[in-house]
C-alpha cells in the first residue's frame, strides 16, 4: 500500500512528510503525526492493543496512544509489514540527565501500575532458572569456541585483539552472573513469591519523550509481561555513556526507581545477574562474525570497545548493589 493510500485510512492529507529515522513525520491541517512502519506478529499487535486498553483502565498516562484509522483499526496491514500512527510529540530540548530521571520515574510508575503477584510455583521458577542457565551456558560456549579459533592465529585483527584481551574478564562476569542467579533462585524459593509487570521491552532514552515536564513512552512493539528487572536492566545498559561514565548516576537512577517501586531482595539479585552477564558484548562478536550489515572493521571495533566500557561501568555499580 502506498503512503497516500495508507494516509487515506486516517483521512489525512499531508502538507509535509519528513522521514526521521524509523518514523515518518506527517504534518497535516489536523495536526502532526508519527507514522511507523514495522514488522509485528499478530500476537505483538494484539498485545499492543491490550496494553492501550489496560492503560486506559488504569488511568496510566505515560504513553503515546495509537491513533485509530477512520474504520477503527489500530494497525494497517501492508504486504510484509504493518503501519501505525501516533500523535507527534515534540520533545523538550532539556537536559539529557533530567530526561533520564523523568524516564526512570515513569518506568517505576508503569511497573507500579501494572505489578501483579503471580501464583508461586516452584516448578515454574525452577524451569525458568534452568532455561536461563542453559541459554547463558550455550552463549558462553559459543564465545569460548570463538576464542579458541582466534587464539590459533598468529596475527589478530584489532577486533579480535580487543576481544581476546577482555576474554578472561568477560568469563569472570559470566561467573558472577551465575552466582547472582543462584542467589536469586535460592531467595525466590525461600520467599515463595514472584511478580510480573508490564515491561516496555526496549526501555531506552530513544523510546521516551518529555513534554512540559511530563514523560511518555513510545514504541511498545516489544512489550511483554515479565519481571521488572528486564526493563530496568535494559534501561541501565542504555543509559550508560561510555568513556564519560559516572557510576553515581546509575546508583541515583536505581534509588529513584526504588523510591517509587521498591524491588524485592531477590529481584535485586536477578537484576545483578542480568547486568553481569555480558550478553551485549557477545552480541557484538556475533555481529562482527556475521557482518550482515557490512560494517567496516573499525565500526565493529568501536562498538565492541563501547560495550566493554559500558560493562566495566556496570560492574562498578554492581559492586555496591
Amino acid at each position: 500500500m502506498s503512503d497516500p493510500a495508507l494516509l487515506f485510512q486516517y483521512d489525512l492529507y499531508p502538507n509535509q512528510v519528513v522521514k526521521q529515522g524509523k518514523v515518518t513525520r506527517i504534518e497535516t491541517e489536523r495536526g502532526t503525526f508519527a507514522l511507523k512502519e514495522t514488522k509485528l506478529s499478530k500476537e505483538q499487535m494484539d498485545f499492543m492493543i491490550y496494553l492501550e486498553e489496560r492503560f486506559k483502565e488504569l488511568h496510566y498516562e505515560g504513553y503515546v496512544p495509537i491513533v485509530r484509522t477512520k474504520y477503527g483499526d489500530s494497525f494497517v496491514l501492508m504486504e510484509d509489514r504493518v503501519a501505525y500512527l501516533t500523535p507527534w510529540v515534540e520533545e523538550d530540548r532539556g537536559n539529557p540527565a533530567q530526561k533520564e530521571e523523568r524516564m526512570v520515574q515513569t518506568l517505576a510508575e508503569l511497573h507500579g501500575y501494572t505489578a501483579k503477584e503471580q501464583a508461586f510455583s516452584e516448578e515454574v521458577i525452577k524451569q525458568s532458572y534452568q532455561k536461563m542457565i542453559f541459554l547463558r551456558e550455550s552463549r558462553q560456549f559459543e564465545m569460548e569456541k570463538y576464542m579458541s579459533q582466534v587464539e590459533k592465529r598468529i596475527y589478530l585483527s584489532p577486533f579480535e585483539l580487543s576481544f581476546v584481551s577482555q576474554f578472561h574478564q568477560l568469563m569472570k562476569y559470566c561467573d558472577l552472573a551465575r552466582k547472582r542467579l543462584d542467589d536469586w533462585y535460592e531467595q525466590v524459593i525461600e520467599a515463595k513469591r514472584y511478580r510480573s509487570v508490564l515491561c516496555h521491552g526496549k526501555c531506552s532514552p530513544s523510546h521516551f519523550v518529555t513534554v512540559e515536564g511530563k514523560g511518555y513512552f513510545i514504541n511498545f512493539e516489544r512489550s511483554v509481561t515479565d519481571t521488572p528487572v528486564r526493563d530496568l536492566a535494559y534501561f541501565v545498559r542504555s543509559s550508560i555513556k561510555p568513556f564519560q561514565y559516572n557510576p553515581a548516576t546509575t546508583t541515583a537512577h536505581l534509588a529513584q526507581y526504588e523510591d517509587q517501586f521498591a524491588l524485592y531482595d531477590e529481584e535485586k539479585e536477578l537484576l545483578a545477574s542480568y547486568l553481569y552477564f555480558p550478553e551485549t558484548i557477545f552480541n557484538s562478536v556475533t555481529l562482527f562474525s556475521e557482518n550482515r550489515q557490512e560494517w567496516s572493521h573499525i565500526k565493529h571495533v568501536r562498538l565492541l570497545t563501547k560495550k566493554i566500557e559500558v560493562m566495566n561501568g556496570i560492574s562498578n555499580v554492581l559492586q555496591s548493589l
Binding site: 500500500m1 502506498s2 497516500p4 493510500a5 487515506f8 483521512d11 489536523r30 485509530r68 477512520k70 474504520y71 477503527g72 483499526d73 496491514l77 501492508m78 504486504e79
Partner: protein, 294 residues
C-alpha cells in the same frame, strides 16, 4: 429532519463540519465528502460491516467500509433506520483488471464470505437440488412437450455433472452490483448494500462471464488465480459448482413459471454449450465422488 442528521453525524463521528449536499445521501465534512447509507435491517447491516472489515483486513483490498463513530461503532441509529458513513470515491477504475487480479478478487470474496457469519435468512444452500428439479421438470411435461423432451434427454449428461447427495457449502456473498473504483492509485471495491447472493449465482455467473469475455489463456489464468487463492475445501466446492448443471435447472424453473419462449430455449442451449466448453478448457471432472482440476 435533515439538520438532525448533520447534527447527529457531527456529534457521533466527531466531524467538525457537516453539511448536506444536493447529491442524495451525501454530506460534506471537514475530512471530505462522505456517503450515507440508511439501513432498515440491522442483520444485513452487521453482515455487511463484518464482511467489508474482513475483506480489507485479510486481503488488503480497500472497500467501502463503515467509518467508526467516536465510540468505535460502525453505525448510528436514526429513527427506524441505522445510518452508516462511507468514503465517497468518485474515480472509477477504468481499465480491465489483469486476469490474475480477477481471480484473486473472487478468491478474496470467497475467503471472506466463508469467514463471515450470515443471518439464517441469507444462508442459502449451494447444494444442487436434483430431485426437486426433476419434480419441476415433470410439471412441464404437458405444457411444453418439445422442451421437456430436450431437457429429459439431457438427464444422463446432467447425472455425470452431479455429485449426488454431496452437499456444497459455498458461502453466499454480497457480490451483485459491486463497482470497482480507484482511490490514491489503489483499487477500491465498492460493494453494493444488497442482500448476499447464493454462491452458484455469484461465483458461477462470474466464471461464465469471464469465459464469454476473455481470451482462453487469460480465462485459465483467472481461474487458476481463483483456485490458488482459496483453501482446499473451497477449491472443491467451486469446481463442483462450475460443473453442476445450474443452467439446466434455471431453464426448467423458468418454464415452470410460464416464461417459455424459443429465445429462452436457445439461451439455455448456448449456456449448456458454454459450460461444456468451460469444463473442457479447464479440464474439470467428477469421478468417484470427487472433483478434479488438471
Amino acid at each position: 429532519m435533515e439538520m438532525d442528521v448533520a447534527d447527529l453525524l457531527g456529534k457521533e463521528f466527531g466531524f467538525e463540519q457537516v453539511s448536506l449536499l444536493d447529491e442524495p445521501k451525501t454530506v460534506l465534512t471537514n475530512v471530505g465528502k462522505k456517503k450515507l447509507t440508511y439501513w432498515r435491517e440491522r442483520d444485513l447491516l452487521e453482515y455487511h460491516l463484518n464482511f467489508r472489515d474482513r475483506f480489507f483486513s485479510q486481503y488488503g483490498i480497500l472497500c467501502n467500509r463503515m467509518i467508526r463513530t467516536l465510540d468505535g461503532d460502525g453505525y448510528v441509529q436514526y429513527g427506524d433506520f441505522y445510518i452508516t458513513v462511507h468514503d465517497l470515491v468518485e474515480e472509477c477504475y477504468a481499465e480491465d483488471l489483469y486476469p490474475e487480479m480477477k481471480g484473486y478478487l473472487l478468491a478474496a470474496l470467497v475467503g471472506t464470505a466463508k469467514e463471515t457469519p450470515c443471518s439464517p435468512q441469507y444462508a442459502y444452500s449451494s447444494t444442487f437440488p436434483y430431485r426437486e428439479t426433476l419434480t419441476a421438470l415433470a410439471s412441464i411435461k404437458l405444457l411444453y412437450p418439445k422442451s421437456y423432451t430436450l431437457l429429459v434427454n439431457l438427464i444422463p449428461e446432467v447425472k455425470k455433472r452431479l455429485l449426488v447427495d454431496q452437499p456444497n457449502i459455498l458461502p453466499p456473498a454480497p457480490y451483485g452490483g459491486y463497482r470497482l473504483k480507484r482511490v490514491m492509485g489503489q483499487i477500491f471495491f465498492e460493494a453494493s448494500d444488497a442482500v448476499p447472493l447464493p454462491a452458484y449465482k455469484w461465483i458461477v455467473n462470474e466464471i461464465q462471464f469471464w469465459f464469454k469475455t476473455m481470451e482462453t489463456e487469460s480465462f485459465v489464468k483467472s481461474f487458476s488465480a481463483l483456485i490458488n487463492g482459496v483453501d482446499d475445501e473451497m477449491q472443491a466446492y467451486i469446481i463442483q459448482s462450475v460443473i453442476e448443471p445450474w443452467e439446466w435447472r434455471s431453464c426448467i424453473l423458468a418454464l415452470q413459471q410460464g416464461s417459455h419462449s424459443d429465445q429462452k430455449i436457445k439461451q439455455f442451449q448456448e449456456e449448456w454449450e458454454a459450460t461444456r466448453n468451460i469444463i473442457d478448457t479447464l479440464q474439470l471432472s467428477i469421478s468417484d465422488r470427487r472433483v478434479s482440476y488438471e
